[in-house]
């Protein structure tokens, strides 16, 4: 059983992660959607975070179309039209965005839970998510992320807990870790 405030904490941490990952585009809105039918993209990149008390799966949904390619090229600071034509480029880039998003989520969870393990990205078809209820998750929710230019992504969070799970999301860290800078030991 996952408590209401733990679910709220997962929502909050995911929202933080999505906004951070797509910071290169203005985020117009982020929030839950009613059901899986509203998730229309045909593929997803999946990553998982495992702890002693739960296993979490994060799915970022996407289509492999020119519009998505152009958006990613813009996010990566490439000139319009410069994105490689090969679909593999798009799949690799989306996998890395999934990795960045789940990495942020992993770090947020790490402020509450010790001994977390994060997976590498995996690409799955949308229809495979129809089987998620078979895992009997304590929390399964779908979200939308609206970016400037009218682009919409969806995400899915699926959490399977071991026993009772209750926690509160910690307040924002006073000095956020600066991504991209070198910490020398």
């Amino acid at each position: 059983m996952i408590s209401a405030r733990a679910r709220s904490a997962f929502d909050q941490m995911l929202a933080t992660s999505l906004r951070s990952t797509f910071a290169g585009a203005a985020v117009a809105g982020c929030g839950p959607v009613a059901d899986f039918a509203q998730v229309t993209e045909r593929r997803a990149v999946m990553l998982s975070v495992s702890a002693c008390r739960f296993r979490l799966m994060l799915f970022l949904h996407f289509d492999t179309d020119a519009r998505t390619g152009a958006l990613l090229a813009r996010l990566r600071g490439q000139p319009q039209g410069a994105e490689p034509g090969a679909p593999q480029w798009l799949l690799d880039a989306l996998s890395e965005y999934g990795n960045l998003c789940c990495g942020t989520l992993n770090r947020e969870l790490g402020r509450v839970f010790g001994c977390l393990g994060m997976s590498t990205p995996h690409l799955v078809e949308r229809e495979s998510l129809r089987h998620l209820p078979l895992l009997r998750p304590g929390y399964l929710r779908h979200y939308r992320l609206d970016l400037d230019g009218g682009h919409r992504f969806h995400a899915t969070l699926c959490v399977c807990e071991h026993g009772e799970l209750d926690f509160v999301a910690p307040p924002a860290a006073p000095q956020a870790e600066v991504a991209g800078e070198l910490e020398l030991f």
């Binding site: 001994c115 977390l116 994060m118 870790e177 991209g180 070198l182 910490e183 030991f185």
Partner: protein
């Protein structure tokens, strides 16, 4: 002979990091995971710096660093992790493995270029 070895299972990251370093005068080679990186380091003893992801298939980055210092007995090459991970426990394991530094993704080339060149000896 390369100065920097970029190790990541993501071709997007390899391309992004390698292109930036190359355009700033550094010679770069690539590996797709820790196992591939060990092979490259055995073959090219001139590599001065390894920029390496942690979570990779076949052989993860921290295990690779431990093998570089252990099996390869290479104490000279600088190893910097480039990863989404940042837990204190993981960093401590990195330090124990002789890792020189840690960068949390996403990569910010201009922010690290000066330090990277120092680590390479350029």
């Amino acid at each position: 002979m390369a100065q920097v070895l970029v190790v990541d299972d993501s071709s997007t990251v390899r391309t992004e990091v390698g292109s930036f370093l190359s355009s700033n005068g550094l010679s770069v080679d690539y590996a797709v995971d820790g196992r591939d990186a060990l092979g490259k380091l055995r073959a090219d003893t001139g590599i001065k710096l390894v920029l390496c992801d942690v979570n990779m298939p076949n052989l993860d980055g921290l295990s690779m660093a431990e093998k570089v210092r252990g099996e390869l007995r290479n104490a000279a090459v600088n190893i910097v992790m480039l990863t989404t991970e940042s837990s204190p426990a993981m960093k401590e394991r990195g330090k124990a493995a002789g890792v020189k530094g840690w960068i949390v993704k996403p990569f910010n080339g201009p922010a690290v270029l000066g330090s990277v060149k120092k680590l390479v000896g350029a």
